[in-house]
């Protein structure tokens, strides 16, 4: 486990919205299945006293923290209020904040992340699907049915592409320790380096699949930072320059961050890079042959 386990009490901000309500249901169905605590409280300003799927809703994060033991949170509030939600949670003392919200202005994100760092808490996302540690905890929107428990960690800037990879791994009989989507924005809290550091300390994780895409060079930086065996895949070989490919952060700018040069740098560093998603399971097996 890297950011939480069965015993992690989770808070949801934006609990009474359509997304929040829907995913509290799914997260707690998963918690029930694995015998975990799941979502213990929700927050929506002005809706204190209500219940969502039996989960009590509070007006503020501090109110919720008074009544419950909470270590992590998942944010579903709209973009205009999301940075404030991150800061409220950091200020209240929550250790891990998963920000699902997309389209947060990057200046708001920079402020919220700087503030959270000051308060000593980790932000996953924004614009991410969250994380799932099979058999332990689901914090976010990943479809639990595709996952199986095992020793391979997965880190990705994507949502559905991650599910595709997890599906391939599970079908090939390769289970996962934790799967985390770090977000598709240019500025995100936990980057490849941060998550790999957690995976390195996690005895369950023996190897990592690192799924990157065009934009920036944080994949390479991550791969260089760890001793764990890695298989990588980089999306966007066919992405034209200066075009945003769906994610705010997926853009080749000023001739930097294109897929081919990323792949070349990863390979130069000794990291095997798959040309297709369907090649990943076999490459992971090869890693295990070599090391464990």
């Amino acid at each position: 486990m890297i950011y939480g386990d069965k015993n992690t009490g989770v808070l949801v901000q934006g609990a009474t919205g359509k997304q929040g309500e829907f995913h509290i249901g799914l997260m707690n169905a998963y918690a029930k299945q694995v015998g975990g605590r799941g979502v213990v409280a929700g927050v929506t300003p002005g809706k204190g006293g209500k219940e969502v799927h039996g989960v009590p809703v509070y007006n503020t994060v501090k109110d919720a923290m008074r009544d419950h033991d909470i270590a992590a949170s998942v944010i579903f509030v709209p973009a205009a209020a999301a940075a404030d939600a991150i800061m409220e949670e950091a200020n209240a003392g929550i250790q891990t904040i998963v920000a699902i919200t997309e389209h947060i202005p990057v200046h708001d994100t920079m402020k919220a992340i700087a503030y959270a760092r000051m308060e000593g808490c980790s932000v996953i996302g924004p614009n991410c699907p969250g994380l799932l540690s099979p058999g332990e905890v689901k914090m976010g929107i990943m479809p639990a049915g595709l996952f199986s428990r095992g020793n391979v960690g997965v880190i990705s800037r994507s949502g559905t592409l991650t599910y595709e990879v997890v599906d391939e791994l599970t079908r090939a009989g390769i289970g996962q320790s934790s799967v985390i989507g770090i977000g598709g924005d240019p500025v995100i809290g936990q980057t490849f380096v941060d998550v790999l550091e957690r995976f390195e300390k996690d005895p369950q994780t023996k190897a990592v699949v690192l799924i990157g895409e065009v934009g920036g060079n944080l994949e390479e930086e991550g791969a260089k930072s760890t001793n764990l065996p890695i298989v990588s895949y980089i999306a966007g070989i066919s992405a034209p320059p200066d075009k945003r490919m769906g994610h705010a952060g997926a853009i080749v700018e000023g001739g930097e961050g294109d897929a081919r040069s990323k792949i070349a740098r990863l390979r130069k560093h000794g990291v095997p890079v798959a040309s297709r998603v369907s090649e990943i399971p076999e490459m992971v097996r090869d890693l295990f042959k070599g090391c464990c």
């Binding site: 700087a114 599910y163 240019p186 895409e213 966007g236």
Partner: protein
């Protein structure tokens, strides 16, 4: 969204950064009225939404005698395929030295990065490669409204002190205008003082609304239409249309087309919740791209309802072939609906893409 030079200069002037005297014209005749304000040497700069316009002939020198004819010449040009509708007429500066200044969003530090070099006037990428020691950078704290003086001193070195003030002002522009790039290149010294000879501002697409922009000018017409439906859309020029859910999965579908030797016509991410109407709109939009011969639909997600997707594809009623890969809930129903109408549905990404490449060839 990238602002035009005259828009960027108007903003930085409001923040107290000196810019050359000048005005915008939309026809050559408009030049005559204020021509006296510009002195006897000036420059005409095409305001087109494209980079590298200088080398493409979009910047012309002029004097009062030749001005109107030169402006007409520029209005009749196309710069990298774009018509010239606006020209910025500006006083020509007596440049003594050129500097480069930019503020960007730094992915690694997750904070604003300010870059300054006294070796301006050439391509910044070239300076970065050949003389990295000439480039100075500092990281600013996004929780502070100003750059502390010690950081300014680190940045400017032996350059004139006025430049420190200009950096402070540009930083305010960067913060208050939701910029992802604020650049002055070149920043010049002249006998009359320091000026921003050129300025570039790119506004965060996620902040256009609160900055008062209703339209993203960086998008093509079809891209704008896609945006209205809530799709992310990029047009390419191949024969295989692509519809996926999620940016990463859609990108990797495009990559797979290239892997199997085909060419994608577009990138379209339908986003979350692929209900029938959204899917129908997406299929119709892609089918209208003239180069499209076949469309690949690749949708995966625990909560995607396959019967809804099937309904959308059938309702679109387009003439091109559609090949579908669907995984989610109600898979059997969706498959049956599509099969009944003669659509092909395959189990994996590799299979649909290979089939599409065959059909397109």
């Amino acid at each position: 969204m990238k602002l035009r030079e005259y828009e960027a200069k108007k903003i930085i002037r409001e923040y107290g950064i000196p810019v050359p005297a000048g005005f915008l014209i939309r026809s050559a005749d408009e030049l005559s009225a204020h021509i006296a304000d510009l002195g006897d040497k000036f420059v005409l700069k095409a305001q087109v939404d494209v980079g590298g316009r200088g080398k493409a002939g979009g910047i012309l020198m002029a004097d009062p005698a030749t001005a109107v004819a030169t402006a007409k010449e520029l209005f009749n040009k196309k710069i990298k395929g774009l018509p010239v509708r606006e020209i910025l007429a500006e006083q020509r500066l007596e440049i003594q030295h050129e500097y480069y200044l930019s503020i960007t969003v730094d992915r690694r530090s997750k904070q604003p990065l300010i870059l300054f070099t006294e070796a301006g006037g050439v391509d910044i990428e070239i300076t970065a490669k050949e003389h990295p020691e000439a480039i100075r950078t500092v990281i600013a704290n996004p929780l502070m409204r100003d750059i502390p003086p010690f950081l300014l001193r680190e940045l400017i070195g032996t350059a004139p002190k006025e430049i420190g003030t200009i950096i402070s002002k540009l930083y305010r522009v960067f913060l208050e205008k939701d910029a992802v790039l604020a650049e002055i290149n070149p920043l010049v010294t002249t006998p009359q003082g320091v000026f921003a000879a050129d300025a570039k501002i790119i506004v965060d697409d996620n902040a256009l609304g609160r900055q008062g922009f209703t339209v993203n000018r960086d998008l093509s017409e079809r891209e704008r239409e896609a945006e209205k439906h809530g799709f992310s859309y990029v047009e390419l020029n191949g024969a295989i249309g692509v519809i996926g859910n999620g940016a990463g999965l859609t990108m990797s579908t495009l990559d797979l087309i290239e892997f199997y030797g085909g060419n994608a016509a577009n990138f379209l991410d339908v986003g979350g919740g692929a209900e029938s109407e959204r899917v129908m709109n997406a299929v119709r939009l892609v089918a209208r791209v003239p180069t499209v011969k076949v469309i690949v639909v690749n949708l995966l997600g625990g909560i995607t309802k396959c019967d809804e997707v099937a309904k959308g594809i059938i309702a679109a009623g387009i003439s091109q072939k559609v090949i579908v890969r669907l995984a989610g809930t109600n898979e059997a129903e969706g498959r049956a609906m599509l099969l009944e109408k003669g659509y092909e549905m395959l189990d994996t990404m590799d299979l649909v893409v290979r089939k599409a490449v065959e059909v397109a060839a």
